[in-house]
């Protein structure tokens, strides 16, 4: 019997609301099937199942909000039996994918979740319709309850236009210390939680290298020449592929730190996407190393619109093993990222711009990019980091081999 749990879809996820079971009892589940929709701080997420078996029992009802790790359902794989005593809706399991908190803390969180949020029925209805996470709102109604007005305020903030100045300020500081930007409270709180944790727990070290992008840009230009617009490449696809190949050579950076370094078998590159409404999401481009540049571009074309519509799948949100932030393309020369726990590294690309560049005694004007690496000093040392940057540079100088 398999205990299917509320997955942890990121370091910033503590709980999720089971919105809908997409499978019925008795149905045979295949690996990769969407079993349920879960509402998180980041929106509605399709939850995949990673095992095969028959859906035996639901332990959590639709509409219930439960902490990460809660057993949601039992899937019968024809193997071991689970006794009643070990199975209950409230059971706290050590989350399988990213065990980020110790047991004691989770129990504590659970008690907090147990406190019912005071909210008017109308406000609850509107919140559900607009996917507002009420757990993060402060009520102004009777007894501090959340009322319609509070929900409407939260909605208007999500939809509020972004002032340019504010956004510029955000960009230079990147994801680490965004000021009170105009975003939904929920999203803001999620980013805040993850980044605070990162800054609190991870001893970062930073490396920086300027890389010549002329060959890569020429290669992209050449590739795009005969393509219809729909199939054109963006330089970022090349960057992602190059990072993936570099990680393949320096596997200690494609890892997580959870009481020790755990290398990951797959290279799933998380790609920071800024939302126009504020906030960020980091979907993973799965198995980036085994995809061609074209395939990566296809993935980007698929994933960005979905990310912006909050329609990412659980694996895309939970399985990244390393992160790229390309936010520099908005104008900043350099980006120093904060690592997304429990990963151990993040690479930041600044704006690709024409700069004087000396090579082999010659000075020329070339498109260059300033690449930074922030890495977890618990997991690796600077040497590993610089080896990674060197590998990355080498791949960018040989785009045709990507």
């Amino acid at each position: 019997m398999i205990k299917f749990q509320m997955p942890n879809l990121g370091a910033d996820m503590e709980a999720g609301t089971l919105v809908e079971w997409r499978k019925q009892l008795g149905e045979f589940l295949h690996r990769g099937d969407i079993i349920a929709d879960v509402e998180t701080q980041k929106g509605l997420i399709e939850i995949e199942v990673f095992e095969e078996g028959t859906l035996e029992k639901f332990l959590v009802k639709e509409g219930e909000k439960v902490p990460v790790g809660t057993v949601l359902a039992l899937i019968n794989d024809g193997k071991s039996e689970v006794t009643e005593s070990t199975v209950s809706g409230e059971e706290i399991q050590k989350p399988e994918i990213h065990p980020i908190e110790d047991r004691k803390e989770i129990v504590h969180e659970n008690t907090e979740l147990g406190e019912r949020i005071k909210i008017s029925p109308l406000a609850r209805k509107i919140a559900e319709e607009n996917r507002i996470d009420i757990s993060l709102l402060k009520g102004t109604g009777p007894e501090g309850s959340i009322v319609k007005k509070d929900i409407e305020k939260a909605i208007s903030e999500v939809k509020k236009p972004i002032k340019d100045a504010e956004k510029e300020a955000d960009k230079t500081k990147e994801i680490s210390v965004k000021p009170s930007g105009p975003t939904s409270d929920a999203m803001r709180m999620a980013v805040a939680a993850a980044m605070s944790k990162s800054n609190r727990e991870i001893p970062h070290y930073y490396l920086e290298k300027r890389m010549d992008m002329s060959k890569a840009m020429d290669w992209v230009k050449e590739a795009n020449k005969d393509r219809p617009v729909q199939n054109r490449l963006l330089p970022v696809a090349v960057l992602i592929k190059a990072v993936a190949k570099a990680l393949d050579e320096v596997p200690d950076l494609n890892a997580t730190w959870e009481n020790g370094l755990h290398r990951k078998n797959e290279i799933n590159i998380g790609f920071v996407i800024s939302l126009r409404s504020g906030g960020i999401v980091v979907p993973a481009i799965l198995q980036s190393d085994s995809k061609t540049v074209d395939e990566i571009m296809e993935t980007i074309n698929d994933i960005i619109p979905r990310a912006r519509a909050f329609k990412l799948r659980s694996s895309e949100l939970s399985q990244s093993t390393f992160t790229i932030t390309n936010i520099g393309e908005g104008g900043a020369d350099k980006v120093f990222g904060l690592i997304y726990p429990p990963q151990v590294g993040i690479v930041g690309f600044g704006e690709i711009s024409e700069q004087p560049f000396a090579e082999e005694g010659m000075l020329g004007i070339r498109p260059v990019v300033d690449v930074t690496l922030a890495a977890d000093h618990r997991a690796t040392d600077g040497l590993i980091g610089s080896r990674f940057l060197a590998a990355l540079n080498r791949h960018l100088q040989n785009p045709e081999e990507l």
Binding site: K159, K221, R232, V236, S274
Partner: protein, 82 residues
């Protein structure tokens, strides 16, 4: 297609990409991507959308000619006459 119609189409497409902005308030020589906060992905989507809506293929080497409203309009007007 008149220049005004092209302009309207451009605004519609930009609005779709950047729904919270008001493209009609763009200054003729203002950099569109900067003004409306459009990243490279959205910029490409914009080019794709122009292609689909107006059937104008903007090759990559011409991207520079489409950076502000004035040049983009001129470029598209010219292309549409061809």
């Amino acid at each position: 297609m008149t220049e005004e119609e092209i302009k309207t189409t451009i605004f519609q497409l930009l609005q779709r990409i950047a729904p919270e902005t008001d493209p009609s308030r763009l200054m003729p020589e203002e950099n569109i991507r900067e003004a409306l906060n459009i990243d490279s992905f959205d910029a490409l989507q914009f080019i794709v959308a122009i292609n689909e809506k107006l059937n104008v293929d903007i090759p990559e080497e011409d991207y520079g000619k489409t950076s502000n409203l004035k040049s983009l309009l001129a470029y598209l007007t010219k292309k549409l006459k061809e």
